[in-house]
């Protein structure tokens, strides 16, 4: 299915957010996620199911003022 990841359309074979993140290459990274504007805790990712057109944000620590 097609989902929007950090603003770009990506294709994923997996319905669960945790597996989709691994498929997209985020395995092992320290990241935090939101789905359609809602925070999804790391422990929730395996249970979170994606649907076509979902917006996923994958964020990591960065410099900030």
């Amino acid at each position: 299915m097609k989902i929007l990841v950090n603003g770009a359309w990506r294709e994923t074979q997996h319905a669960e957010l945790a597996r989709a993140l691994e498929e997209l290459g985020y395995g092992g990274s320290v990241v935090t996620t939101a789905l359609n504007g809602e925070f999804i805790a790391t422990t929730q990712r395996a249970r979170t199911v994606l649907t076509e057109g979902d917006r996923v944000e994958v964020l990591a620590p960065m410099q900030g003022g």
Binding site: A41, T42, T43
Partner: protein
């Protein structure tokens, strides 16, 4: 100064990113039977994480490594007291938490003006092969009467179900190992602990 009510004890710094974001503000790193270089790495990682997140880290036993890593709080058992360089720790302004099981140990601990006194095991525990019989709730009340405003940390076999009773008996802080780390969902269990503890009224210190 008061301590947070909930005090998880972990054996690996990898637990920190899982438990701390649930609301933990005080944590003990207790590592047993590991080579010194591994312990050093663990302490340094824990110290770095806790410093950044503003969490109070307490290092069990390895006081030399803790000092070297810049830690400011160490937990010592009675055996550790025999060999620790207490004047060095004082000079470095390292705070001490001391374990006690009986009157003699309590007197020895109080003479060192610790930041907290720990009493255990409150209940039979799965982890340590304890030479001590369970202390039980009335012992908590007795200890609190004797140590007054020094925080009393209860440890050993405390579960979510027993937590309210432990506080009611007079403990200021409840330490926990198994009930969190062996839970099916440790993060959720941690949150539940914090929720129960959060409902406790503020203790007014003497």
């Amino acid at each position: 100064m008061s301590l947070p009510r909930v005090y998880p004890i972990i054996d690996d710094a990898a637990w920190l990113p899982r438990l701390v974001p649930q609301g933990v503000r005080l944590v003990q790193l207790r590592i047993k039977d590991a080579p010194e270089h591994a312990v050093r790495t663990q302490i340094e990682a824990a110290q770095a994480y806790c410093r950044a997140a503003g969490v109070q880290l307490v290092v069990n036993d390895y006081w030399r490594l803790a000092l070297a890593a810049g830690c400011d709080f160490v937990h010592l058992g009675q055996g550790d007291l025999d060999t620790a360089d207490l004047p060095a720790l004082r000079r470095a302004r390292v705070r001490l938490g001391i374990s006690t099981h009986d009157d003699g140990e309590l007197e020895r601990a109080l003479a060192l003006r610790p930041y907290y006194v720990a009493l255990g095991p409150i209940y039979p525990t799965l982890l340590k092969a304890m030479p001590w019989r369970p202390q039980g709730l009335p012992r908590i009340a007795e200890w609190k009467r004797r140590i007054g405003s020094i925080p009393l940390v209860a440890i050993g076999g405390i579960t979510l179900e027993r937590l309210a009773a432990v506080f009611a008996a007079g403990a200021d802080v409840a330490a926990v190992v198994t009930d969190i780390v062996r839970a099916a969902d440790p993060e959720a269990r941690m949150r539940q602990w914090l929720a129960v503890a959060g409902a406790e009224p503020e203790r007014v210190s003497a």
